[in-house]
């Protein structure tokens, strides 16, 4: 850590991990509700618990992105953050607003929350992933503006690197496209059409810019490969991302009342969406193979490589599985979508956050470069536990989805939804068991912050011969 103001990132990372734990606990609750339908009913109905699960995910990922930005922007710009106090203030505001909203989801029926927050005045709540009360949404905008100002002025003041610029573009895009969350017409087609401008253009658009720049930063730091090379790759990858991803939005416009041509445009461009993810995998392994030094923080390198692989599998391969319109006709809105969602979010966004946390936390806690061996071994255990769990969760949900599609939509005698659900219950049991393994991995992950913190830092066993 070179600049004092980078320290503010630590708060954000701690909050992110805390919320991550909450997200997984609620995931287990709704997973259990898939098996025992009356679990916690009527105290905590499925929809409220699911809103907690998904909203916590989004909020903790954004906490992680913000922490990452506060950590890497000063280091890249070679100057202190312009307003560290604002970063701290916004942290507490964001945390308080987020926590209040989550508590609201848990303790009261959704309709009461709507009343309490005056949803009548400006109704925006209750749409998937955008469940938040309007007042929370406004708070998010305020936090985002303050955050962007802080980061933006720091970048303007200091050295302008490609990583910083791309990160800033990604974060600005995140804020700009969020504004479509305030557009909520009665016409359901337009509601859905522009809802995707938030959701798709986030996760298959601007978030990938954030992902790319954080990954590039970690690779520069841990491999010592020439910045020029890494920045060029970064540009090529994000170019492919947006070239395919923007029109790829069309794969959400097949069955919502939008015209037929989207089936072609959406299929063709979203079929190309795996390309940038594939390039990212090639890029990460290439850079690590060409490394000029062995970094003592092996865990961070593992997370970075894991991100590249799992993002390709989850977002690329599992996305491609059901992105073509003729396939999507049968799979749209089934457990196949859920399977893809789980692996894509974990592979792309959870892992990149854990990677930057893994890289930055030891430094924020006063280490020279890395945690002790003992701590790293634990962290790598958690990597494998969580990653393998998510792979199996995805496989079980895919199996459930295939059966669901067959029984409910494809066979000669389509069965009602609830009948099908009881027939595929076995896979929900398996998913829940795997979810418990994931939780174990997460506990190991949290433990790795406390174990071995008094032991000496890990060191590298000898230098690499610089690859040509």
């Amino acid at each position: 850590m070179k600049y004092q103001s980078q320290k503010v990132a630590k708060l954000y990372f701690i909050a992110a991990i805390g919320l991550f734990v909450g997200q997984i606990l609620f995931g287990l609750i709704i997973g259990a509700q898939y098996i025992w339908g009356d679990f916690l009913f009527p105290t905590l109905p499925f929809n409220q618990a699911r809103a907690v699960h998904t909203n916590l995910l989004i909020v903790w990922l954004i906490f992680g992105f913000m922490g990452a930005a506060y950590y890497l922007v000063p280091e890249e710009a070679e100057t202190d953050l312009v307003m560290p106090w604002l970063a701290k203030l916004m942290f507490w505001i964001f945390l308080a607003a987020g926590a209040a909203t989550i508590v609201g989801y848990i303790v009261m029926p959704f309709a009461d929350l709507a009343k309490l927050t005056q949803n009548d005045l400006f109704p925006t709540m209750g749409r998937e992933f955008l469940e938040q009360p309007t007042i929370t949404k406004l708070g998010i905008v305020v936090v985002a503006l303050a955050f962007l100002a802080n980061i933006g002025f720091t970048i303007l003041k200091g050295r302008k690197t490609v990583i910083n610029l791309v990160l800033l573009m990604g974060l600005t895009g995140l804020a700009v496209f969020f504004l479509f969350a305030f557009f909520n017409p009665t016409n359901i087609v337009w509601d859905k059409y522009y809802w995707w401008w938030v959701v798709h253009l986030w996760v298959e658009g601007v978030w990938e810019l954030i992902l790319g720049s954080i990954l590039a930063f970690i690779l520069i730091k841990t491999t010592g490969v020439d910045r020029e090379v890494i920045e060029k790759w970064l540009y090529v990858i994000i170019a492919m991302t947006l070239i395919t991803g923007i029109v790829g939005t069309g794969h959400h416009y097949y069955w919502i009342g939008t015209p037929e041509f989207w089936q072609w445009w959406g299929s063709i461009f979203s079929a190309l969406e795996p390309i940038p993810f594939f390039m990212m995998t090639v890029f990460a392994f290439n850079m690590v193979n060409k490394r000029r030094r062995n970094h003592p923080n092996k865990a961070a390198v593992l997370w970075a490589l894991g991100t590249a692989v799992m993002a390709f599998l989850g977002a690329g391969v599992w996305g491609f599985l059901h992105t073509l319109a003729p396939v999507n006709y049968y799979t749209h809105g089934t457990q196949i979508t859920a399977a893809h969602g789980h692996m894509a979010f974990y592979g792309a966004y959870v892992m990149i956050n854990l990677a930057i946390i893994s890289y930055a936390m030891p430094l924020l806690r006063g280490r020279e470069a890395a945690n002790s061996n003992k701590s790293q071994v634990l962290e790598m255990w958690s990597f494998w536990l969580m990653t393998i769990s998510i792979v199996f969760i995805t496989l079980f949900l895919t199996a459930a989805g295939i059966l669901q599609v067959y029984l409910q939509r494809f066979s000669d005698n389509p069965l009602p939804f609830m009948v099908v659900q009881s027939k595929i219950e076995l896979f929900y049991v398996l998913r829940e068991l795997t979810g418990l393994v994931f939780l174990a991995g997460l506990i190991v992950y949290v433990a790795s912050f406390f174990v071995g913190s008094r032991e000496p830092e890990a060191t590298v066993e000898g230098e690499v011969v610089a690859a040509s």
Partner: protein
């Protein structure tokens, strides 16, 4: 060397490509706007439907159900529920009859205690959605 793979070039392609494809996306959006009115059943939208959509949102129905395939996958698709149930009365009767304490061991919709006006509105909203013309008449079967 001719194969110089310069950063400036990569940057230009990023900016150029993004602008290019975003404009293309806007053009397609514009085109969408000109034809959606023929298929979105907007004639059916009135104050009741608008209230129904608000009831739908304020009770977070999307947190369990899908609507035209989007939402949670815990409960049945409702984009075609009007066709599946056959009438708004059947929809209203179903919502109204949900037991407060659920069904032992099974999934059950909560009892939302909607007023008669809200019940009518949400049923009218679902009727309106079922009138949206989707490609190939998605969903594939009445079961959703």
């Amino acid at each position: 060397m001719a194969q110089a793979f310069t950063k400036a070039m990569a940057r230009n392609i990023f900016y150029g490509g993004t602008a290019f494809f975003f404009l293309l996306f806007l053009a397609l959006t514009f085109q969408t706007h000109s034809v959606v009115p023929e298929r979105d059943n907007h004639e059916a939208i009135n104050d009741t439907v608008a209230l129904g959509k608000k009831v739908w949102e304020e009770n977070d129905c999307i947190g369990c159900h899908t609507l035209l395939g989007e939402g949670a996958y815990f409960a049945p698709e409702l984009g075609n529920v009007y066709k599946r149930f056959g009438s708004t009365d059947a929809i209203k009767a179903f919502i109204k009859s949900r037991p407060v304490n659920g069904v032992p061991g099974r999934r059950s919709m909560p009892q939302f205690n909607l007023s008669d006006e809200e019940l009518e509105a949400v049923a009218q909203f679902l009727k309106y959605v079922s009138g949206v013309k989707t490609n190939r008449n998605w969903p594939p079967t009445p079961q959703g």
